[in-house]
């Protein structure tokens, strides 16, 4: 399902004064597998997730996702590939403020192969599934943080993406809510047999997933000036 081989990527620091090298010799995830990406801050966990999503392109090496070598795709096809195969959940939810929960989810069906004529019906079904059947028309600022993350999960799965990518999905939540969200993510991934990659700092949550991948050492600090940390996570 996902295979990265000898992937190298040069990452600039935020102030563009230095760069670091990301190198991943090999990484493979089978269909339906659930993997926790672990490691210390700045080790390259999010970079790995973004490479799989096609939000970053590798400078060298091969990134194959759902049978497609992402390096061979044009920018537009890469966006469409992501829209079709990957559902993303972020630490800070990334909902669109002007739209209701239902609309935020329906927008997930707006692009590429996810496009559907019965978007609102389908979105309603998914929101009911994540426990927000009574909050369909609430806007993000009217939802609790846990509810917001549920909307984000609904948006990630509504289009039937075969890969669920979660970048610290519990990072902004209190422990109990975080636990609920993790349970929900694991459940929808398992029930739908989705491939599930989750970046987490929480060893307890990581331990609950069948596989773990330690990202330590993926970033080589080629030239990092003192006091500055490279990478983009």
């Amino acid at each position: 399902m996902i295979r990265l081989k000898d992937v190298s990527l040069r990452l600039g620091s935020a102030d563009h004064t230095s760069s670091v090298q990301f190198h991943l010799p090999s990484f493979e995830v089978a269909v339906g597998e659930a993997v926790a990406l672990t490691g210390p801050s700045g080790c390259g966990k999010s970079t790995l997730l973004n490479l799989v999503a096609g939000l970053r392109r590798a400078d060298e090496g091969e990134v194959r996702v759902a049978g497609v070598n992402l390096s061979s795709l044009s920018a537009a096809k890469l966006d469409r590939h992501r829209g079709t195969h990957c559902g993303m959940v972020f630490q800070s939810f990334h909902l669109l403020a002007p739209f209701t929960a239902l609309e935020n989810v329906a927008i997930g069906l707006r692009f590429g192969a996810r496009k559907r004529s019965n978007a609102l019906e389908r979105s309603t079904e998914v929101l009911v599934r994540v426990g927000l059947g009574k909050r369909l028309h609430a806007r993000p600022d009217e939802l609790s943080v846990g509810e917001r993350q549920r909307v984000a999960i609904a948006r990630a799965i509504v289009g039937g993406a075969s890969i669920l990518l979660a970048d610290e999905p519990t990072g902004s939540l209190d422990p109990d809510t975080g636990r609920d969200i993790f349970t929900l993510l694991s459940k929808v991934a398992a029930e739908d047999e989705r491939t599930f990659l989750m970046v987490t700092h929480d060893p307890a949550l990581a331990a609950e997933l069948p596989s773990k991948f330690d990202c330590s050492g993926l970033i080589h600090s080629a030239r990092i000036p003192s006091g500055k940390e490279g990478g983009s996570q």
Binding site: T84, F90, H94, A119
Partner: protein, 414 residues
């Protein structure tokens, strides 16, 4: 959800900025629309009046003044012509229709125009009778009058009503009222959409009688020599329609040579008036309006640019959901088009609505009837140009969004 509805939701979300931007565009567009529509409509209305007559003969003075006084019932006439000239013109085989005009009095600010009964036989350019009677008939008695439609509508006069004329062409407090000479309404004209709607038409004989009597009275009071015997009768102007309009200039030249007066071609005088006086004012207004529109387009550019900058995170989210560059650029572009479109629509409504509100006062002061909802070609071109400017202004932030890489903006917070 379509791009347009998404764009609309974003505009609604930051409604204050959207409303201010739309208002800015609308004000510029309204000004342009109002100026262009006013120009077009005033030209049409002025030409409609001026086109009624091929020539106007009158006393020596400004031809424009003569036309304004005798055709539009504005301004004072430059002087008089001997009434005998009217007889000569009646006998001229080149003349299709001719009527004398005598001015001097008003009622509630509406001029009392002394003329002859055949004045109402004036044919329009299609050969149909121009004046139609809504009520009553042409004057028969010496002090019978026919009201223009607006006079009837704005005064309490009706068929059979009597009233007194007041000396002078405009209403002035304390002016002499001719109480010995009551007028009686014998007819009311149907609206013509011209300055004739603001006039009261009586007999020329009544104008002479009133003023000759008043002159005798004044002479007696002042102890000066009494005016005895028949006086030479005069007319303020003579309105002429020719069988062949192409003869206007020759005939005007003839009248100038053979009489003490002048002859003017109304349509020429009005065109000259528009070009020399109204034209520059309208051009200045158009320049101001163009500047307002230009500033409004810049506002669209700045607004959308700022909106796009604020929405970098949202654009990145859409990209993470699978939106391609052209789709997010289209979304931003659609916002710009909505702002521009709403501004133009509102401006169109404001411009023409404002014109509609001014129809009454404009008609009352000039007699010209404007159609405020008529959109001239020049206005359509201007609207197209403004829509184009708005589209170009919307393109810049759209291109900026097109170029952005989502990974750079996903880390941004709300």
């Amino acid at each position: 959800m379509s791009f347009l509805s998404m764009a609309w939701r974003y505009l609604k979300f930051r409604w204050l900025v959207s409303v201010l931007t739309i208002t800015g565009i609308a004000l510029g567009v309204a000004l342009v629309c109002a100026v262009l529509a006013l120009r077009s409509e005033s030209e049409r209305a002025l030409s409609k009046d001026a086109g009624l007559y091929d020539l106007v003969a009158g006393g020596k003075g400004s031809p424009l003044q003569l036309v304004l006084a005798s055709v539009y019932h504005l301004d004072s006439p430059p002087g008089n012509l001997p009434y005998a000239e009217y007889g000569k013109l009646q006998r001229d085989s080149r003349v299709l229709w001719v009527a004398p005009v005598g001015l001097g009095d008003n009622y509630s600010g509406y001029r009392i125009v002394g003329t002859e009964a055949q004045f109402f036989d004036l044919p329009d350019r299609n050969g149909e009778r121009f004046f139609q009677f809504a009520q009553g008939k042409v004057f028969e008695g010496r002090f019978d009058v026919v009201l223009g439609s607006q006079v009837a509508a704005s005064t309490d006069l009706e068929l059979g009503s009597t009233f007194f004329g007041t000396h002078g062409l405009v209403e002035v407090p304390g002016a002499e009222v001719h109480r010995d000479f009551p007028y009686r309404v014998s007819g009311i004209l149907a609206p013509t959409g011209t300055a004739q709607d603001r006039a009261i038409f009586g007999t020329l004989a009544s104008v002479w009688e009133i003023h000759e009597t008043e002159d005798r009275l004044h002479s007696a009071i002042q102890g000066s020599a009494l005016l005895e015997g028949p006086q030479e009768r005069e007319a303020t102007a003579i309105l002429i329609r020719l069988k062949t309009p192409g003869l206007r200039l020759w005939m005007a030249d003839e009248i100038r040579k053979e009489t003490d007066g002048i002859a003017a071609v109304p349509i020429n005088e009005i065109l000259r008036f528009q070009r020399s006086i109204i034209g520059p004012v309208q051009r200045a207004l158009l320049i101001v309006a163009g500047a307002v529109v230009g500033v409004s387009c810049l506002t669209v550019l700045v607004t959308l640019h700022q909106a796009a900058e604020r929405r970098r995170r949202d654009i990145a989210i859409l990209r993470s959901l699978g939106a391609i560059r052209s789709e997010v650029a289209s979304l931003v572009f659609a916002e710009g088009l909505l702002l521009t479109g709403a501004g133009i629509a509102l401006g169109l409504l404001l411009g023409h609505g404002g014109l509609a509100l001014s129809v009454g006062p404009f008609r009352d002061s000039t007699g010209l009837v404007l159609n405020p909802w008529q959109i001239p070609v020049a206005e359509l071109i201007a609207l197209g140009a403004m829509a184009f400017c708005g589209a170009v202004a919307s393109l810049f932030p759209a291109i900026s969004c097109y170029r952005r890489t989502p990974i750079d903006d996903l880390h941004l917070t709300e």
